[in-house]
Amino acid sequence: MQETSVEVRDLKVSYGSFNVLDGLSLDIYQGEFLVLLGSSGCGKSTLLNAIAGLQDTADGSIAISGRDVTFTPPKDRGIGMVFQSYALYPQMTVAQNMGFGLKVRKMKAPEIEARITRAAEILQITHLLKRKPSDLSGGQRQRVAIGRALVRDVDVFLFDEPLSNLDAQLRTDLRVELKKLHQNLGNTMIYVTHDQVEAMTLADRIAVMKDGRIQQLAPPDEIYARPANLFVAGFIGSPKMNLIAGSLEQGTTFTAPGLRIALPGIQARPTSGGLTLGLRPEHLTLLPEGAVATGPVIEGTVDLVEALGPETIVWLRAGDSTIALRCDPRSAPAQGATARALISLQDASLFETETGDRLDFRPLP
């Protein structure tokens, strides 16, 4: 069992009568890179601010490094925070920005200097120390913002959408750098984003949030392969997972308008109502004409073909559903053609339509 770094218990945060977070619990391990992922208004930033101590909590508790900090001011929580706008103090140089927190704590000047020098070396910003934030590029500013947390020797780094203000190329570069930094420092990092690519690439674990609740907390590959409910299934992945609403007939046949898919050996049973079958675009393989199917098949006409370069997305109209599938650009069918796709059933997900919950589904071989 790993050591817990940040422990959130039954946290409640309200704005007036509206509960942004209501009874949220979350354990974050020592040295973990945890990503809070969700669209705006889901409460992810509120949770981060509550952990930082910048947001008043109505109920519940927060512990950092084994110490209850629910009512501790931000400065004494052992956290550093990097904001979306970086929030560097405009009138101070880079060195002054990094040293401000230490100066406020009345640390001796030589010690401050030593810490700034060390942090600047780690972040490779030594040559920028005398400059003002306005003279820096977005990426450099972000490094200074990280440096400000680094000099204070904090246990936990908090990131509030730190890459959202950057252009696409820089975002990709800095994502890689952040990952490296985490590997070198080994600190606990909590990272808020609405960008699923950032979440997938950076996280040890992702907490997908919606309406103030954690929908699923799992490593990225599990979130992707085994989404816990329909929301997570639809939120992660681009193009989105194909979700086909239907019902189970004769025990093992999944039926949707215009579609019949045999699901041999299905054991799960919905408690009531219908089922939704979830298929990732890469779990559908186009069959060459005349080939013999070795499993369940979807058949339809090609609506649209999108060439992305390394792969091509084919939009197939089958019954009432439009289904996206990935294929090799060289084997892409023409628009309007009829195509058959083999379903990789062991990779499929099954959800109860009404509750949205995942059904455990193990097809027999």
């Binding site: 930082a52 400065k75 956290i79 904001f83 103090y89 009138q91 401000f100 927190g101 406020v104």
Partner: protein
């Protein structure tokens, strides 16, 4: 195709319009300028004349022998009521009233604007609304209760009373401009400073105040001219020892027997208006910029 593509797509340059319209516009502006500058011109030329010349020449005529005698007289010898030492004591009274009034009201306004904008204290919005209501009630309404209160507390006719009144009435507008200015600065700055361990005052001093320079200039200009030009508060609350320049000017101009020394009146008036005039001329650019910054980023 006979026309070039650029000529076809560009059309006529906007803003040039008809020459007639332009001429009319300039004529109007010129007329307005003359209208507003004429009194100033008359004041200046009259103040540079001797009384003999004032009597003889047209008010628009330039002085034949320009002299600053009237200015000297207005500054150091003219009678302002019983005493005849000119406006100089009034000038220094005005300085003694203006400097603390401006300093205190701007500082308090900055602090309250900062508190309202970043710390969102419980009931802060209501407090601010009340402050605004206070700002829009004609201040003449408050004169009697204030005079009564000062008399009861023994503050009547003191410098402190005048300064306090100026601070009270300056605070709403100063708070408003600072609050609006701070609303335009990123709030994450304050959050970052909180995490760095700085408290309410440290954040104000080290982070917010250094970023407030443009709006400080605006507030200081607004308050300085307002306080300097005040007549009523100085007259009512200052007593005889603390009369500001404006009150002395009024005494000088209205309490004369026999022929009115217009040249001295003009010189005294210009002297009194000199400080606000100088501030406007020196800082008009800052003023407009700051007002715009405070107004737009609301």
């Amino acid at each position: 195709m006979t026309t070039s593509p650029t000529a076809r797509s560009r059309g006529s340059r906007p803003g040039t319009g008809l020459p007639v319209g332009r001429i009319g516009l300039w004529a109007f502006i010129l007329l307005t300028v003359l209208f507003f500058l004429a009194p100033l011109y008359v004041m200046i030329v009259t103040s540079l004349k001797t009384m003999d010349e004032v009597r003889l020449s047209s008010i628009f005529a330039l002085p034949m022998h320009p002299t600053f005698e009237a200015w000297r007289f207005a500054w150091s010898e003219a009678c302002t009521g019983i005493e005849c030492h000119g406006l100089q004591s009034g000038f220094w009274n005005s300085v003694r009233i203006t400097v603390p009034s401006v300093a205190v009201s701007v500082l308090l306004g900055a602090i309250s604007g900062y508190a309202l904008s970043y710390w969102k204290p419980r009931g802060g919005e209501i407090l601010f609304a009340l402050l605004m209501v206070g700002a829009f009630i004609p201040y003449q309404l408050f004169i009697y209760p204030l005079a009564f209160a000062f008399a009861k507390t023994g503050l009547a006719n003191t410098l402190l009373a005048v300064v306090m009144v100026h601070v009270f009435f300056g605070l709403p507008i100063v708070t408003l401009i600072f609050r609006n200015y701070y609303a335009g600065l990123p709030h994450e700055l304050v959050k970052a400073a909180q995490i760095d361990g700085a408290g309410f005052w440290r954040i104000f001093r080290s982070i917010i105040l250094p970023l407030s320079r443009p709006i400080l200039v605006v507030a200081v200009i607004l308050q300085t001219t307002g306080v300097w030009n005040d007549f009523l508060f100085g007259l009512i609350f200052g007593g005889t020892n603390n009369q500001p320049m404006t009150v002395q000017l009024n005494a000088l101009v209205s309490a004369q027997f026999g022929e009115k020394p217009y040249n001295v009146h003009m010189a005294a008036t210009i002297l009194t208006a000199l400080i606000p005039l100088a501030i406007y001329l020196a800082s008009g650019r800052w003023f407009v910029r700051g007002i715009a910054a405070g107004a737009v980023k609301g």
